[in-house]
């Protein structure tokens, strides 16, 4: 089997070319933002976002509008909703989110059952189909990804501070409330751009897994961020090829590969791996 041929052949197809660009962007952004999602509440929040965006996407499909339009609208509403609600309840995010998510997802499921059965569309919503990303979608993804990356790099130390040591952030006088919102918006943007490739079910795993893998290899935050970014893009790219050749949902193949890389790292890593522990003792 000629590996070169296997790699090059699909590249001749325009939809694969689009998929590759999308894969690199989405993987990179997911890997990047994953490094900030260290607290339990942030991990919960990312799951909640995907579930709250779900009805938006379904509504968009019902109205024959773009998949992404629904995602963006629902994403915005969720971010604003969480923001407004948590102000009144003195920052008790978890409660706000649990309420929103339960209702929104239920609505989504209800509407879902009303959708005429366009099989590939339905599947894509849940498990992703990176090979069906249109040019318009790609443009939107590129813009959002670019903005998100710009924000994460510009404010990396402020967001780092707010994620890892809120008390210090407050004592240093940073506008913690707005930084939280900023991270939330970046997270929402990440979920939105990743939906097409990964589907509702697999967005959060791809956000969390590459950065978790990165932390098995490096200790410093900056290095973990870059490595997470790289691993995310790698998983996406490899997953794309796998989806192409197996004719399988891309969300599944991507996350499968990301998990595999994690597992290998978990065992092998000189820093934190299982084997390393054995050698040390």
């Amino acid at each position: 089997m000629d590996l070169g041929k296997l790699l090059i052949e699909p590249l001749l197809l325009s939809y694969v070319q689009r998929a590759i660009v999308a894969a690199l962007l989405i993987g990179a952004v997911c890997g990047l933002i994953g490094t900030y999602l260290v607290s339990r509440s942030m991990a919960f929040l990312s799951i909640a976002l995907t579930q709250a965006i779900f009805p938006g996407v379904v509504i968009a499909l019902l109205l024959y509008a773009g998949f992404l339009v629904g995602a963006v609208v629902a994403g915005l509403l969720t971010v604003i909703g969480v923001g407004l609600y948590s102000r009144r309840t003195h920052g008790r995010w978890e409660m706000a989110i649990a309420v929103l998510v339960a209702g929104a997802f239920a609505l989504g499921v209800l509407l879902f059952s009303r959708l005429p059965t366009y099989r590939s569309d339905l599947e894509a919503v849940l498990v992703g189909n990176i090979l069906s990303i249109s040019l318009n979608a790609l443009v939107l993804i590129s813009i959002l990804a670019g903005l998100t990356v710009a924000v994460l790099f510009t404010f990396y130390k402020e967001l780092l501070l707010v994620s890892f040591d809120r008390t210090l952030a407050v004592s240093q006088g940073w506008p913690v409330y707005w930084l939280d919102r900023l991270l939330l918006v970046a997270l929402a943007a990440t979920v939105i751009i990743s939906l097409g490739a990964l589907g509702t079910i697999f967005v959060v795993p791809l956000i969390l897994i590459p950065s978790a893998t990165a932390r098995l290899w490096v200790g410093h935050f900056w290095s973990a961020m870059l490595l997470g970014c790289f691993l995310g893009a790698l998983s996406d790219l490899a997953g794309l090829y796998l989806a192409y050749y197996l004719n399988a949902p891309s969300g599944a193949t991507i996350v499968l590969l990301a998990s595999a890389i994690f597992l290998v790292s978990f065992v092998v890593s000189p820093r934190r791996g299982l084997l390393a522990g054995r050698f040390r003792s």
Binding site: K157, E158, L160, V170, S171, Q172, G219, H220
Partner: protein
């Protein structure tokens, strides 16, 4: 003098800042944690804040840096409002209050101390890495600088928080119980650092249960939700004064000096 101290002294006249608190009041809903607390600290003084449990000692420090909102009163650092002087105050919280399971390295944490002074778009430069390394060295943490904070012992954790505060090069240092739960080696290291910093001229306010340490400070603040007494140790360590705060919860053993 320590390496960090001498390099800092070279750069600018490191003078501790004065601290003035006027009629401070902190209330959580109906509960009043602190009321009518008024005192002044001269630049370079080492101040011990003592008092029984629940006296509001930690709350006082937190209010000074804005972690806890002030219900009333004002705080001035060098005669300017504390909110404008964030870069010059460093706060070291009790190590039990931090989430140590986070995947972040010792160097990362110490560098965070310098963030405020870097400003919004500032990036850590060579100078910042140098100062961070110095602070880490000063607290004896160089051998663990690349480890995750979760791998540290309690003593190392407390030293880490102190290193972070020192990396900020503050003119006022606020420390909440630097000695609680730390092993002997760390305690000695911390005592040495505090003494160094005092010599350099930093203003230090620390909350402590250790009355024998408080007896060696320049000023003692005796707190029990309100200011019972503030003065030199000799003034405060008198049975009449102490019992007002500790209220029969202590025994005074008179020894000879």
């Amino acid at each position: 003098m320590s390496t960090l101290g001498s390099s800092l002294a070279e750069q600018r006249l490191l003078k501790g800042a004065s601290v003035l608190c006027r009629e401070l009041m902190v209330a959580f809903g109906n509960e009043i944690a602190l009321s009518a607390v008024t005192f002044g600290v001269e630049p370079g003084q080492l101040v011990a804040i003592i008092g029984p449990k629940g006296a509001g000692k930690s709350t006082l420090l937190k209010a000074m840096v804005g972690v806890v909102p002030l219900t009333g009163g004002a705080i001035e650092i060098d005669r300017k409002p504390a909110s404008q002087m964030r870069c010059d105050i460093a706060y070291v919280s009790r190590q039990v209050r931090i989430d140590w399971s986070l995947p972040i390295s010792v160097t990362d944490v110490v560098m965070m101390g310098r963030y405020r002074c870097l400003g919004w778009l500032g990036r850590p430069g060579v100078e910042d890495y140098h100062k961070t390394d110095l602070a880490i060295e000063l607290l004896g943490l160089t051998h663990v600088r690349n480890r995750w904070i979760g791998d540290l012992s309690i003593g190392q954790q407390q030293r880490l928080l102190l290193a972070r505060a020192l990396a900020q090069e503050p003119r006022v240092l606020l420390i909440d119980e630097p000695f609680s739960g730390v092993d002997l080696a760390s305690r000695i290291a911390i005592l040495e650092i505090l003494s160094d910093q005092h010599q350099i001229g930093r203003t230090i306010l620390l909350v402590t249960d250790d009355l024998s340490y408080a007896a060696h400070c320049d000023l003692v603040l005796l707190l029990d939700r309100e200011l019972i007494h503030v003065g030199i140790p000799d003034e405060v360590f008198r049975p009449g004064v102490l019992s007002e705060a500790y209220d029969g919860r202590m025994f005074l053993l008179k020894g000879r000096r």
